[in-house]
Symmetry: C2
Subunit: 150 residues, 2 copies
């Protein structure tokens, strides 16, 4: 199955998710690892769409998500940069575009290595907290912890 | 906002629903009314996408669905026929295309007035029961009732 760029934008406007999580990682200088990912979840019956998207972006892995759902996850920074370039050239039409722009800022900061410093990590956390229109108490907790140890 | 045909296909592959319900209607000769509809539900923040789709198809109504969700519903038979023509010319890529083809068969049968006869209604119920990959006990009950009164 060959996917068309505009189709991909429409499908991702509906089904895609740009997400950034941050988890404790004692081996890193700053103590935390930033994990940005682009995710598309589908019912198992549409698994072939996930493989077509994987081919389209030339990146990612298709795996079982939970129950009868599969997902495509793109996590490598270089691949995420390509994904960002695509959605910059082909803008999303829904409010997801607002999340995408924040996601892109985080990917850019990471490419500059900013996530490896306390100040950069705090900036990334502030951006991530404004994404996906949901409260992120875990991120707020990490932020407080970083500010207390600063 | 101007929508592109391929974007619409991708978005509907993700978010659209082709649905047929059948309800009791004592004033109709056969005693039941067939209600096909094309529905797209979105969070209220993306209400403008529903209006853009309404303009794109030149049909439908945007209303509150439930909680923080709005929906575009297209129900008029002539408008649904235009929706079907569009998705026939621009096929969906997911398994939703299977449901769409069944939906289109029902819309065609209705345009021929087949839903007004007991035999036609039974044919429509059989097709509707195979849609949306979920059991439809209410439709099975109507079918049994029609077969018993035949």
């Amino acid at each position: 199955m060959e996917l068309n760029a505009d189709w991909v934008v429409g499908f991702v406007d509906g089904e895609g998710c740009f997400h950034v999580s941050i988890r404790s990682h004692p081996e890193m200088t700053v103590g935390y690892q930033v994990l940005p990912e682009f995710v598309v979840v589908q019912h198992t019956r549409d698994r072939q769409i996930l493989f077509a998207l994987k081919r389209f972006f030339g990146a990612g892995a298709v795996r079982r998500n939970h129950d009868d759902r599969d997902c495509l996850r793109i996590r490598k920074l270089d691949s995420l940069n390509k994904v960002c370039e695509f959605f910059l050239a082909h803008p999303l039409s829904t409010k997801k575009n607002v999340d995408f722009r924040k996601f892109r800022r985080i990917v850019n900061l990471m490419q500059q290595g900013k996530h490896l410093s306390r100040e950069g990590l705090l900036e990334i956390i502030d951006i991530a907290c404004q994404m996906n229109s949901s409260k992120r108490p875990a991120l707020e907790k990490i932020k407080t912890s970083l500010l207390c140890t600063g």
